[in-house]
Assembly symmetry: C2
Amino acid sequence: MKYYSEMTIEELKEEEEALMISYEACQAKELRLNMARGKPSSVQLDISNDMLGAVTKRNGYHSEDGLDCRNYGGTFGIPEAQRTLASIMECNPEHVIVYGNSSLNLMFDLISYAYTHGLNGNTPWGKLPEVKFLCPVPGYDRHFAVTEHFGIKMINIPMDENGPDMDMVEQYVNNDPTVKGMWCVPKFENPEGICYSDEVIRRMAGLRRAADDFRIYYDNAYAVHYLYEDDQPKILNLIDACVEAGHPDIYFEFCSTSKITYAGGGISGMTASENNLSEVRNLMSVSTIGYDKVNMLRNARYLKEGAAIPEVMMKHAAILRPKFELVVNMLEEEIGPRGIGSWVSPKGGYFVSFHAMKGCAKEIVRLAKEAGVVLTPAGAPFPYGKDPDDSVIRIAPSLPPMGELKDAMEIFMICVKLASVRKLQEELA
Amino acid sequence: MKYYSEMTIEELKEEEEALMISYEACQAKELRLNMARGKPSSVQLDISNDMLGAVTKRNGYHSEDGLDCRNYGGTFGIPEAQRTLASIMECNPEHVIVYGNSSLNLMFDLISYAYTHGLNGNTPWGKLPEVKFLCPVPGYDRHFAVTEHFGIKMINIPMDENGPDMDMVEQYVNNDPTVKGMWCVPKFENPEGICYSDEVIRRMAGLRRAADDFRIYYDNAYAVHYLYEDDQPKILNLIDACVEAGHPDIYFEFCSTSKITYAGGGISGMTASENNLSEVRNLMSVSTIGYDKVNMLRNARYLKEGAAIPEVMMKHAAILRPKFELVVNMLEEEIGPRGIGSWVSPKGGYFVSFHAMKGCAKEIVRLAKEAGVVLTPAGAPFPYGKDPDDSVIRIAPSLPPMGELKDAMEIFMICVKLASVRKLQEELA
């Protein structure tokens, strides 16, 4: 096999014709496949069905502090749920606020609050002429949608296998007071699957921010989402690093049980300094009568306040691992030897991020769609949906069963090759 | 027995001395009683314990549209839950958006959205020099806390047994473009327990608002919360009235199952015109991955999509009715003949609103507290916590068991009498 880039225009033409035969054969099958969404499969959801029986008449409705979870009260969460989320974020349970089922909703609410009221006495962002957020890319499209909603200017920060380009981050955060935040998914990052290095996290904690209300929005969504029992990367604890650096207020950390128990019925929460938490409590005292404590109790009991999480996650891994390995193996066999793409083989998380030849991502997604495979739109992992290189495609292998995933990946690779041979011909022409 | 107002200063003095003996005897008991909060009692919560088994492996996790409720998806709610809430609001289920467990949170989010983005293309309230809300008083303190949070100027609107003073409402809404909203609890109003008359609702629907983004925030929190099987007041359907008046966009209506199933584990939602709902959907597409659908399914199945609600509510009534009757009977026996207060005997809802002699409410609440009975702070049912007459005290009889409620009411009445004799002596002096 040869790198496409080493082929002559005639060879490329010949390859394209062969690929078109395969492509049309795929289209003829009229498949309907989907690798677009980071949704757990139904067998993964089945893992936690015992959770549904975790709150019953027999085992009681009260949290350990004596609150009847069925009733009003306990606006900031019950101790059991605090400990559950603290075990994920590796923090003091007393510094945890428990929210509803969507951590995205919590991030949205914080940013909305900063916009309307300002954080810790700072000017509300809505009253400032410009507010900027740093966005390591590729990243999570729904983060970017939140900041875009509030008219916040988003700045792409390139990433490598260690995390965001910290020289660039320091340049912005330390000098520009309009930079108010930075989105981060530090572990098994969405969609690259990489983990931030200790040095990156230490430099983040050490940021001498020009804006007092600059915060790291640290979405630890995949903190315990390992694919391998014997290869579980650890990342530096941001909270400790921030305290050591003398910047205890510089972060908000978020997590949820969405991809531990039920994506649609988990619990979410945050940790932060007491300074920051008191601000959030002020908000919540007005914005809600409190989140669903029965579901907090359900999640906390089922997960044994965190003690059962490693076991539950290995059950997920047993289902997810073969899917990730299938994707990576197929890429290694078919794409690697042709030199038309790159990817990181992740050790956890929910995504494989494929970097196609520049200028090919949109075309690959289009070709795949017309052959019955829905992918995340090209550009989605970038602010404003704009991938400057038109290169990154997020592959979400979790939802389809193995057979469908294999079919989808076969079509995907034909599309990658087809778009690449055409691009190379254009360039040679 | 004599009206206190007809007593001489000597008689009042004598009465005060007798009351002080009773009061000190109460203090000596060192009771800890609470009539402050509209929380259901644990026996009421027990009514719905079967709900916990409504979603299990055996009866399935899917909504009727095929969605696995355990997973992501279905951001705006599942059809079963839409029908459940539609049965409460008497509206088209397709015009229902289902939210989390807190309808207050939904109201907060809408007002926050109006503040940051503006409703239906109107100027965001945060960019206006002044925004006003009309607040029928006494009303729900947490409504007022939301508008106060956003710096919205609140205007007291007096109420009588038919609802808010509509002459005053029309005067404001039809002429003042800075009036952007009006809080309403139309049925068994918190805390008066009154129901808006058909004429009031029709006049609300007919408001020729000066501001295009004026909305009635219609919190139908007690829509089905009757105390009597054979005496269930109906109110005019606002939605139909608004359509008839040619003002389909003038309202947002809210409800929840918080006081039907679990106060801490129900579901909430809203109905509005398609024009308004599309705005809410835009917001929710950014602000959340969607609310807990497992809990939607649980509530909807248990309540048989609304069909079981009358039966469930009569179970609540059987528990609540004797408490309300106790409160009203005691007031009638002890306070009525002395002419030192008034109240409405409600046919539903969660509160009895006691109107003390002017200038006595704070003192009554203080006296009660020092005798071991916690009441809702005087002033709480008014914007900014300021009751202009210092007269209204909200009595919440739902939480304490009958014995405790009786003890608390006895103390309460001693405090009412004591504050009143002192006030009258001051006036005579």
